[in-house]
């Protein structure tokens, strides 16, 4: 049993890194723009399909393909922000839920039309291969997925804390009105932030699509998990998204092996409810911090 628990913890941490990647885009967008991007799950699936088509038609490795899919998704994010999000002037948070849900439906519809409802999965030599360390086999795909998360989230950290754009972005997160007053082009920052969030979805899509079968409908389960993660971590907190992702997966996996898979979600949600009772702002969120 001890071996099973250790294995569950390791798998949970590695898989949690992948979820952190997917949820970081969601929490970043909320932090800057105060909108809840319900389409993030559909964008992850779209990213997975882009990688699948590159692999299927041009035999491009799924990780190498990110050099193509991430810029495409970044541009798509800019387009969505300018066309659908920017026109929302009042009641942005509530209306954004409706608008981004509509975007998710459009993406699902287009994907269903192009790819049908059949399940597919991303394949590469490292998807099923593993190596032995101690008494365990560690699959390469989880290691690579975790490393991808570390690299991209580190890059995001550098962008946020070591660049002029990062200062502008964080200023917009802290106080949108004050940022505008000191000359920051908040609309431009918002558009780029949305683009980055969507580009991160492309990377998350590769990791998700290599470890799960997916079809155009797979985003429903995904978005519900991502929303839970950013609520637990604290809306707008990247560090919170990382910690909550790992916690979600580790708690779920350990509960499944020690007790029963039936209880893994229940235990996690119990912890979520208790945490929110004690800290309504989530683990790393700022209570009322956004009120002007």
């Amino acid at each position: 049993m001890a071996n099973l628990i250790i294995e569950a913890v390791i798998t949970g941490i590695l898989t949690g890194g992948v979820y952190a990647l997917m949820s970081s885009g969601l929490t970043l967008i909320f932090g800057v723009m105060e909108i809840i991007n319900i389409a993030q799950g559909a964008l992850v699936i779209l990213g997975a399909y882009l990688s699948f088509w590159l692999q299927d038609n041009f035999h491009i490795d799924i990780l190498v393909g990110l050099l193509i899919t991430m810029p495409i998704m970044f541009m798509l994010g800019l387009l969505i922000e300018v066309a659908f999000i920017r026109p929302l002037k009042r009641n942005r948070t509530m209306l954004s839920i409706l608008v981004t849900f509509a975007i998710a439906m459009i993406i699902e519809g287009v994907l269903t039309r192009q790819a049908g409802a059949t399940y597919v999965q991303l394949n590469a030599w490292y998807v099923t291969a593993s190596f032995k360390i101690g008494g365990f086999y560690l699959p390469y795909i989880y290691i690579f997925g975790f490393l991808l998360s570390v690299v991209l989230l580190s890059g995001l950290y550098v962008l946020l804390y070591r660049t002029k754009f990062g200062y502008s972005l964080r200023a917009s997160m802290q106080n949108r009105t004050a940022a505008e007053l000191i000359g920051i082009d908040v609309e431009r920052v918002s558009a780029i932030t949305f683009g980055i969030g969507v580009a991160l979805a492309a990377a998350g899509g590769v990791a998700f699509g290599a470890t799960n079968l997916f079809n155009p409908n797979s985003h429903y389960d995904l978005i519900s998990r991502l929303l839970v993660i950013i609520v637990l971590g604290g809306l707008g907190s990247l560090r919170g998204a990382l910690v909550a992702s790992v916690a979600l997966l580790v708690i779920g996996d350990v509960t499944a092996v020690v007790w029963s898979p039936v209880w893994s979600s229940t235990v996690f949600f119990m912890i979520l409810v208790i945490t929110l009772l004690v800290r309504p702002q989530g683990l790393f969120g700022q209570l009322e911090g956004r009120k002007q």
């Binding site: 291969a129 699959p139 799960n212 079968l213 409908n217 389960d221 995904l222 029963s260 898979p261």
Partner: protein
């Protein structure tokens, strides 16, 4: 005197005129009557058949395959002159794999669209609420994918499943294992199943039968249908050291289990899944090709592309002409949907009516109907008691029948070779 004469004359004239009018009326009526009997109007309006299927959500792939089955049947019956001389018109709506939406849909199909007949949705999960709505309005509810035992224990008189009762799906596998020589017979089995009314009864039946034979349960896990991380479940099966793995799955979860087994170099002697390996090229692509599929087993409810059953060759041919691909790619859902149409057509032809009360009585009358899945005969609860379970196995890139011997085209491969 003269006045009396005119009075009598007037009475005679009135009487004559009245008699003439009566005669004219009788003649006129007689003429009309003759015309009516020679031109009875023929009902040429199409027979509308409603169905709710899943085009999004968990059952979307199956829902679309079911739609193909229904549409192929409708095309064939219309080509043959229709049902009772009337064309068949399908009225299919999307339920998003939602038990709530499926109820709304059947309510709408019956009360708003005024469909004459209804066919069932995909899955036991959706059939249960949908059949209650149909029962409320006295509609016969013939379906092909709602075979979970819980569908038939609610006292409904209107539900009929044309497929093999779900709980018996793995019986052929348990019989096969029991026929192995004692030196080869496994001593332990690991089970894992979704908490789904389609998968869990199958696994539970297999577990009961194996335990009766002295084959111990190394691990038994039930997981929620919304599970996305299957690794801990797979790891527990691996840690149990079981020789045989029986999983109650659909395509996504069996693919995840196989991926994990390969990563962990776990090679059971036999691996059978309730569903997933029957999805042809979808399954092969998902698990990484034909070599990985070698010797994986799946139960079969009586249909496969080469089956020598009534209408099967025609259905397969028309499927390929309409949708392309290979015969091996045809989902068994297509055959299940097609069989629903075949049973309803034969029953309606027997009673020469589309009255639902008469149709329910006919389906309960103990007649045997012929379908692409084989014979169909309903017991009191509406389950098909004429169906037989087969055992299929992937061998050299083809999914073929291997048990029982009368349908087998090759010997089963046992033990399963190691993962490539």
């Amino acid at each position: 005197m003269i006045r009396q004469y005119f009075t009598q004359l007037r009475k005679v004239l009135y009487a004559s005129a009245t008699a003439s009018l009566i005669l004219l009326f009788v003649v006129a009526c007689g003429g009309t009557s003759t015309t009516t009997t020679t031109s009875t109007p023929v009902n040429t309006t199409p027979i509308k058949i409603g169905a709710s299927l899943s085009f999004s959500g968990d059952f979307s792939a199956d829902g679309m395959a079911f739609q193909q089955g229904y549409e192929l049947w409708a095309k064939d019956i219309n080509k043959a002159g229709g049902l009772l001389g009337r064309l068949v018109q399908l009225d299919i709506v999307n339920d998003n794999s939602s038990p709530d939406q499926v109820q709304t849909n059947y309510q709408t199909l019956i009360t708003v669209h005024k469909d004459d007949l209804v066919f069932g949705p995909f899955s036991t999960l959706l059939t249960k609420p949908a059949s209650v709505v149909a029962s409320r309005y006295g509609y016969a509810f013939v379906e092909g994918a709602g075979g979970g035992p819980s569908v038939f224990t609610r006292g409904l008189h209107n539900i009929f499943d044309v497929s093999l009762p779900v709980a018996n799906n793995l019986v052929a596998f348990t019989h096969y294992i029991q026929t192995l020589p004692s030196s080869q017979r496994p001593t332990s089995v690991a089970y894992a199943t979704e908490d789904d009314p389609f998968t869990q009864p199958q696994v539970d039946t297999a577990k009961t039968l194996f335990e009766q034979e002295g084959i111990k349960t190394a691990s038994y896990q039930v997981y929620p249908a919304e599970t996305t991380d299957y690794n801990p479940i797979a790891d527990k099966m691996i840690a149990s050291g079981a020789q045989v793995v029986v999983v109650g799955t659909l395509l996504p979860d069996v693919s995840a289990f196989i991926q994990r087994f390969k990563q962990q170099h776990f090679n059971p002697q036999a691996l059978i899944a309730t569903a997933g390996p029957d999805q042809g090229s979808q399954f092969l692509k998902a698990i990484g090709g034909t070599q990985s599929a070698e010797a994986i087993m799946v139960p079969n409810g009586g249909w496969f592309p080469q089956a020598n059953t009534p209408g099967n060759a025609q259905m397969v041919q028309e499927y390929l002409a309409t949708y392309g691909g290979n015969a091996a790619d045809i989902s068994s859902d297509v055959a299940e949907g097609y069989s629903v149409g075949q049973v309803v057509a034969q029953a309606v032809t027997n009673i020469k009516s589309i009255d639902n009360a008469k149709l329910i009585a006919e389906l309960h009358a103990g007649h045997t109907y012929q379908t692409v899945q084989g014979p169909v005969k309903f017991d009191d609860t509406g389950q098909n008691i004429a169906a037989t379970a087969y055992l299929f196995q992937w061998q050299s890139g083809s999914l073929i029948p291997v048990y029982p011997a009368n349908v087998a085209t090759a010997q089963p491969v046992y033990p399963k070779p190691n993962w490539p």
